[in-house]
């Protein structure tokens, strides 16, 4: 019995030590586990300087502009608080859409324009049939019209 209790104590102590170690490591690596920075973070100079990083947020509705006869385009990434303009030349993923999530890799120029080398779409955790999505959009528009009428 005594040996078993000692084993329990060792295992408990080991797991506790491990939990503390993992907590410290995670805390230390917090900044490196960031996959992307929001526009607010970028404008607060929290994004890394002098190397490429990712910016993530929503593509602002109505901001997408394509240059004629090239694959170059520009759009604005927003987190509703701040905005960062992005320029990109290349193909977009199917799910890239205005008003939807996006993650772009690239670097920030001195003019404040983010030049992207890769653009990924970030979709949300909601799944619904097209009819339901249309109904929600309809209801949303109705609500907006009502509020603008007031």
């Amino acid at each position: 019995m005594k040996a078993r209790h000692r084993r329990f104590a060792w295992i408990a102590a080991g797991l506790a030590a491990l939990a503390v170690a993992v907590g410290l490591v995670l805390n230390a690596f917090q900044s490196n586990l960031v996959f992307f920075y929001s526009p607010s973070q970028v404008l607060a100079n929290e994004a890394p300087v002098g190397r490429s990083f990712r910016i993530g947020g929503m593509v602002e509705a109505g901001s997408l502009k394509r240059e004629r006869e090239t694959l170059t385009m520009s759009f604005v990434v927003t987190d509703t608080a701040q905005k960062v303009p992005v320029r990109y030349t290349g193909l977009l993923p199917d799910l890239f859409k205005e008003g939807k999530g996006v993650v772009a890799q690239g670097s920030l120029g001195p003019d404040g324009v983010f030049t992207a080398t890769e653009v990924l779409a970030k979709h949300d955790e909601n799944y619904m049939p097209p009819e339901a999505a249309a109904a929600i959009e309809q209801a949303h528009k109705g609500g907006q019209m009502k509020s603008s009428a007031n």
Binding site: R7, F8, F35, H123, P129
Partner: protein, 249 residues
């Protein structure tokens, strides 16, 4: 304590029990998989944003859940094996590792083939995907460690310690989408909030999850039977089994 648990902790007693349970769980897995595929492909509607590509969810989510859950179960048996010095618990942990590794590999594979059409990339080093890759390596590490140590009882202890240490990775995987900015979206189904998906989609996902669950149980039981035979060979009860006697005749 009316039930004598030690009786069931004996490989000789558990071997025939596992032999009866495994085919039953295998059959359940097949039935649920058939039903889940029917719901997933014939009944569930198209997704508004992802089109038909979202149907990968019906294999991706069950395999990802099982990859995490099997690891926790393996860690649980490992803890029992260490604490009570129990052979059968160690054998259960040993039996779960390959199935868990398979689930982790399938979760990563199906995730890649889902990520490409939706996000635009097969792979990104975000926290969710990186921690899931670590999970696969932990499974492979446990299997490799087992193979590297000849003495089975020493291998039991070493693998149990590694399995327990690696268990901290499971909550990291689960909460990674909340703790950090990730490319992977947040949880659609959780215990604390209403599911964020149409009911037929949810039904397909849950039925497929049960199928994956039953398969993992069946595979682990089949494997633990083989492990018991491997490790208990030479004992009188194995020699007296009908299947070993039959092959002598």
């Amino acid at each position: 304590m009316a039930i004598n648990w030690y009786r069931y902790a004996s490989p000789a007693t558990f071997y025939p029990v596992a032999g009866r349970l495994a085919p039953a769980f295998g059959a359940l897995a097949a039935i649920f998989a058939a039903a889940g595929l029917w719901i997933g492909f014939a009944l569930a509607p198209t997704d508004a944003t992802q089109g038909e590509a979202y149907r990968i969810i019906f294999v991706h989510v069950p395999t990802a859940w099982m990859a995490m859950f099997v690891y926790l179960v393996m860690a649980f048996w490992s803890a029992l094996a260490l604490a009570f010095n129990a052979r059968l618990s160690a054998m259960m942990a040993q039996a779960l590792a390959p199935t868990g590794a398979l689930m982790a590999a399938l979760a990563l594979w199906t995730g890649a083939f889902w990520g490409r059409p939706t996000w635009g990339t097969y792979w990104a080093w975000d926290a969710r995907m990186t921690s899931t890759l670590i999970l696969l390596f932990l499974y492979l590490g446990v299997i490799a460690l087992r193979g590297a140590i000849d003495d089975p009882r020493r291998a039991d202890r070493a693998c149990a310690v590694l399995a327990l240490v690696g268990a901290v990775n499971v909550p990291i995987i689960y909460f990674s989408v909340q703790w950090w900015n990730t490319l992977h979206q947040g949880a659609t189904v959780s215990l604390t909030a209403a599911p964020k998906m149409a009911s037929l989609m949810l039904a397909g996902m849950l039925v497929m999850s049960f199928a994956a669950w039953f398969w993992c149980i069946a595979a682990a039981l089949w494997r633990v039977r083989a492990i018991i035979l491997e490790r208990e060979r030479g004992s009188a009860w194995v020699a007296a089994l009908p299947e070993t006697n039959l092959r002598a005749a």
